[in-house]
C-alpha cells in the first residue's frame, strides 16, 4: 500500500481507486473547507448566513437532480414540482395535523419518492427530448393540482400555507445560525449519500445507462429498474430540499415553484458539471449567489433606480447566459476547470498525459 498515491497510475487496489478522496491534497482541501464552514457563522453577518442557507438548500436539490440527469442521463424539467410536492406535504402535515418535523420530513421524502416513481414511468418509453417534454407536462399537471389545492385551502389561500418553525425536542430551529448548522449537516449527509451511490454498483449502472442504455441492458443491468430508481432518489432528495425550504421560509406558496426554478436547477448542474457531485455543489453555489452578485453590482451603479426593472431582468437573464455559455464553451462545467488545474499540478513538471486515468469525483 502506497502511503502517498500521488498519481492515479500508482493505485493498485479496487479499494484505493474507489476512495472518496484519493489524493492527500484533496483531503487537506476538504478539511479546510469544512473548518471554514464550521467557524463561518462566528464571523459572518446575518445576510451572509442567510445566503449560505439558501445555498445549502440549492445544494440538496441540485445533488438530487445530478443523480438523475448527471449520472443516469434522464433530462427532467420536473424538478420544481418535486420540490413543490415536498414543501406542500410538509406544510399540510405541519399546518393541518400539527405533525412534528421528524414525521413531516420523512413523509415529504416518501411522497416525493412516490411522485418521482410515477413521473419516471414515461422514462421507460422515451429518451432525450421526448422525456423532457413529458416531464414538462408532468410539472404543469402537478403545479395545477397544487394551485387548485392552495386556492381551496381556506382563509390564507392567497398568502400561502404557513409552516411553524421545526422543533427537535426542546430545541427550536428558528435563528439563522441554527438553520446554518442544520442545513450544513443535512447537505453534508446528502453529498455523502450521493457520493456513495455514485461510486458503487448503482452509480456505475446509471452511468452505463446514460452512455448507452442498450449496451447497459446487454451487460445485464436492469435498465427499467435503475431508471426508476434514479427518478425515485432524485425526487426524494428534491422533496427533502422542498420540505426544508418550507420550514426555512415559514410559508409555502405554489407561485414559488415555477418552470424557471426547474431550469435554474438544470443550470446548476450544467454550470457545475454534469455527472459530478462536486460539480453539482459548485453549480449550486454559483447559481444561488449569481443573482445576489448582480444585485450588489447594480447597487454600486449611480442612479441605478432610473434603470427600473433592468437589474431584475439581468438577474433573470444570468441563468440563460450561464446555460448557453457553459454548454457552448465549457460543457463539462466548473469542475472541469478545477480538474485541469489539479492535473497540471499533479503532472508537474511533466505536461503530457498519455493514459486516461480513472475519472476523479
Amino acid at each position: 500500500m502506497a502511503m502517498f498515491s500521488g498519481s492515479p497510475y500508482l493505485r493498485v487496489s479496487y479499494a484505493e481507486t474507489n476512495r472518496i478522496l484519493p489524493e492527500p491534497y484533496q483531503r487537506v482541501l476538504v478539511g479546510a473547507v469544512a473548518v471554514a464552514a464550521l467557524v463561518l457563522p462566528a464571523v459572518g453577518n446575518a445576510y451572509l448566513i442567510y445566503l449560505l442557507n439558501l445555498t445549502f438548500l440549492a445544494i440538496i436539490g441540485s445533488v438530487g437532480l445530478n443523480l438523475l440527469t448527471g449520472y443516469c442521463g434522464q433530462v427532467s424539467l420536473g424538478h420544481a414540482s418535486f420540490l413543490a410536492i415536498g414543501a406542500f406535504v410538509t406544510a399540510i402535515l405541519a399546518n393541518r395535523y400539527g405533525a412534528p418535523v421528524w414525521q413531516a420530513l420523512p413523509a415529504a421524502c416518501l411522497v416525493g419518492a412516490g411522485v418521482g416513481f410515477v413521473v419516471g414511468l414515461p422514462a421507460l418509453r422515451f429518451r432525450g427530448i421526448y422525456l423532457a417534454i413529458t416531464t414538462l407536462a408532468m410539472h404543469y399537471a402537478i403545479i395545477f393540482i397544487l394551485t387548485t389545492y392552495q386556492a381551496n385551502f381556506g382563509s390564507s389561500a392567497t398568502a400561502g400555507i404557513s409552516v411553524p418553525a421545526p422543533a427537535l425536542g426542546p430545541y427550536e430551529i428558528n435563528s439563522g445560525r441554527a438553520w446554518y448548522y442544520t442545513l450544513l449537516l443535512v447537505s453534508f449527509g446528502v453529498v455523502l449519500f450521493s457520493l456513495n451511490l455514485s461510486r458503487g454498483y448503482i452509480g456505475r449502472a446509471w452511468v452505463a445507462i446514460r452512455d448507452r442504455d442498450i449496451a447497459a441492458a446487454s451487460v445485464g443491468i436492469p435498465v427499467a429498474r435503475f431508471k426508476l430508481l434514479a427518478f425515485v432518489c432524485s425526487a426524494a432528495l428534491a422533496a427533502l430540499a422542498g420540505s426544508l425550504g418550507a420550514y426555512f421560509t415559514g410559508v409555502v406558496t405554489v407561485e414559488a415553484y415555477t418552470l424557471e426554478l426547474a431550469i435554474i436547477y438544470l443550470a446548476m448542474i450544467i454550470v457545475g458539471g454534469m455527472g459530478s457531485v462536486a460539480g453539482a455543489v459548485l453549480g449550486a453555489i454559483f447559481m444561488t449567489l449569481l443573482p445576489f452578485g448582480i444585485e450588489r453590482a447594480f447597487e454600486a451603479v449611480p442612479h441605478a433606480w432610473r434603470l427600473g426593472t433592468t437589474s431584475y431582468g439581468l438577474q433573470e437573464a444570468a441563468t440563460g447566459v450561464a446555460i448557453i455559455f457553459f454548454l457552448l464553451f465549457e460543457p463539462k462545467g466548473l469542475i472541469e476547470i478545477y480538474r485541469r488545474i489539479a492535473e497540471y499540478f499533479e503532472r508537474w513538471p511533466f505536461r503530457y498525459r498519455e493514459l486516461q486515468p480513472a475519472e476523479r469525483r
Binding site: G128, F144, L266, T310, A317, G320, L328
Partner: protein
C-alpha cells in the same frame, strides 16, 4: 357559428406557432423551447417599430419587423446552433431553453415588462346574435395563416431550394454531397421559424395584451406541434386546430380556469398514446 369562428382564429395562431417549431425540427431535429418567447419578443419589436414610425406607415413597420425577425433567426443559427452540430439533441434543446430565459429577460430589460397592446384595427365586421363579434383582426389572422401555409407548400413543392430543403432535412450528409448548401438551408429554417413566430406574436398581440407572461403561448404551440407530429407541417395545422378546439370548448362549457390546464393534459395524453403525433413519423422516436 361563433364558437367555430373563435376556434378557427385561435387555431390559426396555434398553427402558425406550431409551424415554426416543425420547420426547425424537420431541418435539424432540435425542439425549440424558445418559440413562445420569440413570438412575444417579435410582437414587442412590432410595437416598438410602430412607435418609431409613429403609425405613419404600416407597411414599413411590417417590413422592419419581418427583416429583424429573419435576421435574428439567422443570428441564432450562426451564433448558437451551428456550434452544437454533433452534440446530443437535448444539449441544443437546453440552449433554446437558455435562449428563452434571455428573451424573456429582454422583455423585462428593454420594454420594462410593460403591458402593451398592438392596435392594428378595431373594426368589427359582423356581430353575432350571442354578443360575440367577428373583427377585421380575426379575418387577418386566418388569412395570414392560410397565406403562410400556402407559401410554405409552394416553396417546398415547386422551388429548387424547397426541394433541397426537404433533402437536407431527410439526410444532411447525402444532401451536402449533392452540393446542397446545408448551412444555408438551416439558416433559412431558423429565419422562417422566427419570422412565423413574430407573425403569430403580432397577431396574438393585436387581440390581447402582451406581457412577459404571454410567452406561455409557446407551450400551446409546442403541444400543437406534438399533437400533429413534430416533423409534419400538415400536422401543425390539424394540431393547432385540435388544441384550440379543446381549449376553447373547455373554457366555454366547463370552466375557464380549467382551460389553462388543457394544453398539457393533451400533451400527456398524446405522449402516452401516440408520441409521434397524428402525422409524424414513428421511427423519429428511436432517433432521439
Amino acid at each position: 357559428m361563433e364558437l367555430l369562428v373563435s376556434i378557427l382564429v385561435l387555431g390559426a395562431t396555434h398553427a402558425l406557432l406550431a409551424a415554426g417549431i416543425v420547420i426547425v425540427y424537420k431541418a435539424s431535429r432540435i425542439v425549440n423551447f424558445a418559440h413562445g418567447e420569440l413570438a412575444i419578443v417579435g410582437a414587442y419589436v412590432f410595437y416598438s417599430a410602430g412607435l418609431i414610425t409613429q403609425g405613419q406607415s404600416l407597411l414599413l413597420t411590417i417590413a422592419a419587423t419581418a427583416a429583424i425577425s429573419a435576421l435574428f433567426g439567422v443570428a441564432i443559427y450562426v451564433a448558437l446552433m451551428r456550434r452544437l452540430v454533433g452534440q446530443p439533441t437535448f444539449v441544443a434543446a437546453m440552449v433554446t431553453i437558455g435562449l428563452a430565459i434571455i428573451l424573456k429577460a429582454a422583455i423585462v430589460v428593454v420594454w420594462q415588462s410593460k403591458s402593451v397592446g398592438i392596435n392594428l384595427t378595431r373594426q368589427t365586421l359582423y356581430s353575432f346574435p350571442g354578443g360575440g363579434r367577428l373583427t377585421l383582426v380575426d379575418v387577418i389572422t386566418v388569412t395570414c395563416c392560410i397565406a403562410f401555409f400556402t407559401a410554405l407548400f409552394a416553396f417546398f413543392n415547386y422551388t429548387r431550394l424547397g426541394r433541397q430543403f426537404r433533402g437536407a432535412a431527410e439526410n444532411p450528409l447525402l444532401a451536402s454531397q449533392r452540393q446542397v448548401n446545408v448551412n444555408l438551408i438551416l439558416a433559412l429554417a431558423w429565419a422562417t421559424a422566427v419570422f412565423s413566430a413574430s407573425l403569430a406574436g403580432v397577431l396574438f398581440g393585436s387581440r390581447s395584451m402582451l406581457s412577459p407572461q404571454s410567452t406561455i403561448i409557446g407551450l400551446s404551440g409546442l403541444t400543437a406541434a406534438l399533437v400533429g407530429g413534430l416533423d409534419s407541417l400538415r400536422g401543425a395545422v390539424i394540431g393547432g386546430m385540435l388544441v384550440a378546439a379543446a381549449t376553447y370548448i373547455t373554457a366555454r362549457l366547463i370552466d375557464p380556469a380549467l382551460s389553462e390546464a388543457v394544453p398539457f393534459a393533451i400533451l400527456l395524453i398524446v405522449m402516452t398514446w401516440r408520441p409521434w403525433g397524428i402525422y409524424g413519423t414513428p421511427e423519429e422516436l428511436n432517433r432521439v
